[in-house]
Symmetry: C2
Subunit: 612 residues, 2 copies
């Protein structure tokens, strides 16, 4: 033990690593007012390069935390993808352009490019407003998880001990022993937390080598501001436009190009900016490509396609992001997968820490996100093989044709956009009554749709009414109010909610008697009515279904006729109505008919608990 001051402390959640996964978690938990700390060994924020594009689903998630506007203001949008293949004269020619995002329900139908420092700053500023800052120059040196069952089973105990070295304090280096309820290792591909618990990485043994260049180009290439997938006889490369007139070029390299034959290690003298530029230039021939000024950033990296064998130890120590999954940069998924791991975990931690849920909810983090990572790797392999494979030519009929490649690009659209993510049944996903809202797929995120507020005809995007505020939303589709049988169903549901002992009253925190107060806590009722703005009277809805006048929507176009309308059709809502339970992360948890509140009852009973 070093001769330094050692302090002790307690914290609910300790996050190790302040990259995108760690910051996303910290920001989410800060929003939930969870007692959280986040440390990073680096002395300062990354300032250039790194990170991939931001997918349409990730933009939706940012928006749900109230930080989407800034992301959209600062990022560079990528709408179109251009495909190049070998032409008759040796150089490349364009074989087509197609939308870069092919997911039809994407609210933001584009990818965004923003440098990692830009993304991190959005989180840092948001967290700072909530009183949480990254503790830098702080290195974890030891982590222990108690094996005491009683401790492990008590969600409020502190079974994890982490020793931290603070390298740059005013008193010189200090050591701190932190007792934590939960720890998250968001410490990257070489995760210290993962290794400390000997979690293996499953998958391919072999690694691929990638080169990356950022520059402002001087070029006559007509797709320099689109995503360009270039399949040439001189190697494949991927061009992605970035902020401030920059572009990024990804090139897959061979061992021969990069490794020193004597040492077997990456040799930066063999492959630096001039050599990377030459690789790109050869691939782009006959188009010109030169940096207008200097190369802004470059890197080489070696990466395999692997997934961690588990995502948690006893639901006390978790890993997220690159610590769990590594893959190629081609589909631009790395950072998105990481931030969505965090988004999935954060509300579950908050619920358990608030005493609202048992620890079984935490198990769904691994089941939901590890499955996704496995799918991601499978996708990555297929896509990478196609992309790196030889182009099909008259001489080489075994190569990949443009049509095959375009087909794959579009097929995988739901995947690369993040929109198609589907969580399987678990305590948090109960697959019943799907037919009552056939297009609100249980286990998938709620697609965007504009509804109009009943009281004032103000159009709202439904996703904006489902913020990441750590509440379950009950979307009560009441159907057509003019049908008397339907009015009776709605009344029955409203009475069911209000009944003493219903889930809605039972999970009320003690001491918050009033109905309004209950509603503010775990649930938010949003009533969506099949009515016309010229006719409806929002006061006709039973009071429990309109905790505030703003909570009643109608399925109608707005006053211009240009927004909204046909939401019942679009969501496949039964004329009998439906209650759709949306999880705090925006995914459909279950669906129930208006007449059978028991279905919802059972869903919540599987993991929710009344406060102590």
């Amino acid at each position: 033990m070093p001769a330094t001051l050692t302090t002790q402390s307690e914290v609910d959640v300790l996050i190790i690593g302040a990259g995108p996964a760690g910051l996303m978690t910290a920001n989410a938990l800060a929003n939930a007012r969870v007692n959280v700390r986040i440390i990073d060994k680096r002395a300062a924020q990354v300032t250039a390069g790194q990170a991939d594009g931001i997918s349409p689903r990730t933009i939706e998630v940012f928006q749900s935390y109230g930080i989407g506007e800034r992301l959209l203001r600062e990022g560079c949008q990528v709408h179109l993808a251009a495909f190049y293949n070998p032409g008759p004269n040796g150089g490349i020619i364009r074989t087509g352009r197609a939308p870069d995002v092919t997911a039809p329900t994407a609210r933001y139908p584009f990818e965004l490019a923003l440098h990692q420092a830009g993304i991190e700053s959005i989180f840092l500023d948001s967290m700072k407003n909530l009183g949480v800052e990254v503790e830098r120059s702080t290195v974890p040196t030891k982590i222990e998880l108690s094996s005491d069952e009683a401790l492990l089973n008590d969600p409020q105990s502190y079974p994890v001990r982490v020793t931290l070295d603070h390298l740059e304090t005013t008193e010189g280096p200090t050591t701190e022993v932190v007792k934590a309820k939960y720890v998250l290792g968001a410490d990257g591909a070489h995760s210290w937390v993962r290794r400390a618990f000997d979690i293996s990485m499953d998958g391919e043994q072999s690694d691929f080598i990638w080169g990356v260049l950022d520059m402002v180009p001087d070029t006559d290439f007509p797709d320099i501001r689109n995503k360009a997938l270039i399949h040439s006889n001189n190697g494949s490369c991927l061009l992605v436009p970035r902020e401030e007139d920059r572009i990024r070029i990804y090139m897959q390299l061979s061992d021969k190009q990069v490794l020193n034959p004597e040492t077997g290690r990456v040799d930066k003298d063999r492959m630096g900016p001039p050599q990377l530029l030459e690789v790109a230039q050869k691939s782009l021939h006959p188009f010109k490509l030169e940096p207008l000024n200097e190369i802004n950033w470059w890197t080489l990296y070696i990466i395999g396609q692997r997934v961690a064998s588990k995502y948690s130890i006893n639901n006390r120590v978790f890993i997220a992001g690159d610590a769990c999954h590594t893959h190629s940069p081609k589909a631009g998924q790395g950072m998105n997968a990481s931030m969505n791991d965090a988004h999935n975990l954060a509300w579950k931690l908050a619920f358990v820490l608030r005493g609202w849920s048992g620890m079984e909810l935490l198990s769904t983090y691994e089941s939901e996100r590890r499955k996704y990572a496995q799918d991601l790797i499978a996708f990555d392999k297929q896509f990478s093989t196609m992309f790196s494979g030889k182009p099909k030519t008259e001489q080489d009929l075994d190569g990949v044709s443009h049509e095959e490649f375009m087909g794959a690009f579009q097929t995988f659209g739901g995947f690369t956009s993040g929109i198609g993510v589907h969580y399987s049944p678990s305590v948090a996903v109960k697959n019943t009554h799907q037919a009552l809202a056939s297009k609100l797929v249980i286990g998938e995120r709620v697609p965007p749709q504009v509804f109009v507020r009943a009281a004032d005809a103000w159009p709202f995007e439904l996703q904006d009414l489902l913020p990441s505020d750590f509440k379950f939303k009950l979307l009560v589709f009441t159907g057509d109010h003019n049908v008397p049988a339907q009015q009776a169903r709605v009344r029955a549901f409203a009475e069911g909610l209000e009944k003493p002992g219903s889930f809605y009253t039972r999970y009320a925190p003690p001491g918050t008697g009033g109905k309004g107060a209950v509603v503010q806590n775990r649930f938010e009722v949003i009533t969506i009515w099949d009515g016309k703005k010229e006719e409806v009277n929002y006061l006709d809805i039973p009071a429990v279904l309109r905790p505030h006048w703003t909570n009643v929507l109608i399925d109608d176009v707005d006053c211009t006729g240009k927004m909204g309308g046909n939401g019942y059709d679009y969501f496949g809502i039964s004329p009998d109505g439906a209650v759709v339970v949306v999880r705090p992360d925006g995914y459909v948890g279950t669906i129930a008919p208006l007449y059978a509140i028991d279905g919802i009852e059972g869903y919540f009973a599987a993991f929710m608990q009344a406060s102590a």
Copy 2:
């Protein structure tokens, strides 16, 4: 002269009054980096009440200064108007609901309500970032304009002397004599500046008395969150929803209700909150209306319908806002008219102060805005008379029917939205070649339309590419590039622009030789091409028409097919193309064919001058 310290100073523009008109001007001039000061006699910002709604056009203008997002975030949107009339049982019944904004080209098809302090804060924060703050507790006591012709004719001279008393400095009250190039009186309905120059107010002699109440209501009135125009046998009133669940009620009152019969003056004991509430309650019968808590704000005011006989003295001292025009609050136009006065004046002042234009440009402020104010008063009279008139009933066939009133409401939509404002020919509006772009009406603002960027298929709202950045925009509609004759026209126009002595090169500030630099100053070229995103190569456009790759748009739908497209049709663009000159305030200045650059030449020659 008081025995206080007297200082002397010089400023380019001195603004007297920090209400909406003054702040809009100060913020605009701060954006233009004009040397500006703004004073106000009040010690602090207004904190509650006051101000009317914000019209669709005003929102567009805010957006053009980069402050629209915050306005939209903070304001309460009003989409629907409900009309109530006397029912068979004595109380009111709803006769219909209709869109509150009927201007079909409105980009923001709603009115916004935001308290005056909220609006002012948007300006104050924006100005502060640009280094300009309001000097409060500062009272002007004397203003003199030189009669020396030579001084008056030199746009850079200081012919105005204003004496200011600073009431609250650390050294006690001080006096300052400010020499200003230009002075703006934005000092309200009782304008000191206007009276100092004996500018008369033309119009009706008689005044109307209005009562206003702000509250959070407890009510069963189903249109409490819509704008409600209530025409009852117990008086008319207007309800407008506001932020934070509040509403505002406007009631027109009679002399008998308000004036003390002995003094003939307003008697606040006769008409305070309880009496106002009673007036509203009678009008709303049989619906319940009570304040949920206290009355948030109330006022009585007396106002006539009048327009100032002139808006400037020698184009050196100007008045704007309520100083120029007073009218009823019914159509919610007061603040909008004021801020649009400011928007009209600011760029003209900036151009003259930069030496880019002669003072003749300043004369268009009065010609454009006074005409508008006269139209506003005419509208207000017609609308007010209808609104305050007796409802038509079986007993009283002379009254105003619901249909007549609804008709008037919709007819005036272009007017109340601010969208229909049309400036007549002047040195800044040249009415030629309208047919080449038939729907881009010369003298009106450019309507919103989404175009897609040629290089990257990113959809942009054209209005966002026409910011209030004190540049003239040249919208070059190049037509169909596949037509050879059209290519020739485009080349000819490009060559015309580049020719030495063309307006585009002639008005280059000295010492900024490079073409790029010229473009950055007074003009911005935006090329809009009739092409498809799958096919176009933005490099095919002559270089002078794409000063940056972002300046080339195409008339196509975006990648989702949901935004953009048909812009040529929507704007009525001739297949031969057109050049549309947009003024820095977003209004169409003139139109010319591609082949005749002389038209544009002549337009600018009428007021523009080469820098000294």
